[in-house]
Symmetry: C2
Amino acid sequence: MKKLLLLYLVIIGAYVLYALNFFYGKHQSAGAGESAALVGSLDEKYVMVTFQSGIDYWKSVIKGFEDAAGVLGVSVEYRGSTQYDVREQVTVLEQVIAQKPAGIALTVMNPEALTPSIDKAVDAGIPVVLFDSGAPESKAYSLLATDNYNAGATAARTMARLIGGRGEVGVVTLPNQLNHQQRTNGFRDTIRAEYPEMTIVAIALPNQLNHQQRTNGFRDTIRAEYPEMTIVAIEDGKGDRIVSRDAALAILDAHPNVKGIFNTDANGGVGIADAVRLRQRQNEVKVVAFDTDKVTLDMIRSGDIDATLAQGTWNMGYWSLLYLFHLHHGLVTPDSGQTADASPLPVYVDTGISVVTRENVDNYYVK
Amino acid sequence: MKKLLLLYLVIIGAYVLYALNFFYGKHQSAGAGESAALVGSLDEKYVMVTFQSGIDYWKSVIKGFEDAAGVLGVSVEYRGSTQYDVREQVTVLEQVIAQKPAGIALTVMNPEALTPSIDKAVDAGIPVVLFDSGAPESKAYSLLATDNYNAGATAARTMARLIGGRGEVGVVTLPNQLNHQQRTNGFRDTIRAEYPEMTIVAIALPNQLNHQQRTNGFRDTIRAEYPEMTIVAIEDGKGDRIVSRDAALAILDAHPNVKGIFNTDANGGVGIADAVRLRQRQNEVKVVAFDTDKVTLDMIRSGDIDATLAQGTWNMGYWSLLYLFHLHHGLVTPDSGQTADASPLPVYVDTGISVVTRENVDNYYVK
């Protein structure tokens, strides 16, 4: 009888081992599936680096980055220069590179100054993608940012909806940006070509061509799609509330029939609303602003600004991390023998624009 | 003794159940984690729809779509019109919509004809993203395609590398495309504006502005970056091997110092190589072609073509499915109150270009 018991035990033991093995094996194969899937580990740390790191504008970018980390099961960290200071941003980026993170999402305050550090990271095997503003000659894999020309086109369509597709409109922008850009390019190209021993370490020209592109998109779309609308004035607001107010007052006084004013920068919209109120023309003149600063959103709520354009900042953060994850895990190299020109990822992503009005303004306050 | 055996059996049975439970439970909890992460189910079917569905060009797009399905754990299906026939593509798309798939990735043969079906799908809650060629006025969420201007710029830099950054070059393209586009726009806009009871059901204008944009990118980059290079001729190859050969012969005969010819379409590059061989100038004249048809790749291998530009077709398929997955799972709606203008996803993705030379040509043959 003891032999029979032993036999039973052996059989049952074997069954237990089989069951363990079966389930362990299943779990293992699921595990192997996961490592090929989009599931990372908390040891994997991705770092976002900005400048003026405390401003509200980045908060939704960080939220997108964190949401992607939650979905992928990886860790993230947020760094940046506290000031609008390119030397400080370079220092922060160098500190991050020294940590050897799984990847870096960077917004570039100044391409000239940051390109050497970007290239150093990529050469060391740390993937870098750029968001909001890029460094075209760097080795970064991708740029995720607003297409400012398209943003201007969206502004034109929004204005057309507000004023019924006909009438005079004005623009308050930073119209001399293109001149500054051209002057800067001439300076830079000449130094590169003729003075190899000179180096430009920083160019403090904010936002480059953004405002020109926004204005062009607005103008071209009105010409192409709204033949009964006319742009009667393009004024310089210098990115400042008071100067933009005065520019808008000039437009209102010179053009009594003006039905709308579009502003291309984050600070001018509230100045234009001030001007419209000063002249008591709130019911006649529509205001389309740019970006979602708190004071702009408050004026959307109060009805002083009719619409503002929100950049796809959440998209910038979310898709930056997805791209870095793919690079870190080697999931995107269809051509193993690629030349230096080729990127394994899409090279440019237009993160889009959404239109903020009284109906949806509550979604845009920073939480 | 029998009682003891029974006891053993009960104990061992309980242990087996415990073991089963432990491993099953572990598997379940991994499953729960997966549902919040980027892991789908095989019940979820995403469909890709093309036209001329048998051509090699789509194979790498399909591979990207399938690779993403493997990573996400979802099912995919590939459909398309067999011919270059827009009515057939509309029929196929309507059949796919009737199946109520989890999402549709579509390349648009003709925006006018396909927009109503695209909008119908989106209105029915089926996400649609577009790849390779778009439908700007449709409700599709995103377009993933080559930026043809940037492709031309890459061609210019490739040519400059091949000829040492100085000398005369020519272009064989479809130069009258812009005229055709403008004529078509005038026709379409007038019908829309003045004849509301007329409808244009199809416009058979291949590739729209692609060739013009490639030529402009090539020209502007040479002007801006290679002051010692000159474009001495831009000829019409009509997208045909024989016509392109004759166009290249004309360039070679008229410009004895020409050092390179760039072709903007998939068929002309081999014609240019034919011309260079006919005039026995293989060592003097470099050829940069477009796309990766088998005959072009064979000529890269044999040295008759020096480089060709491969579009980021794998990226188109891979990221189309990732976008559809995010839409289907509601992972990308940062602003729940978005207006009609807003897309929860990046609206445009430049899927990039890679340069194919003898060194990496083997990676580009369709497997």
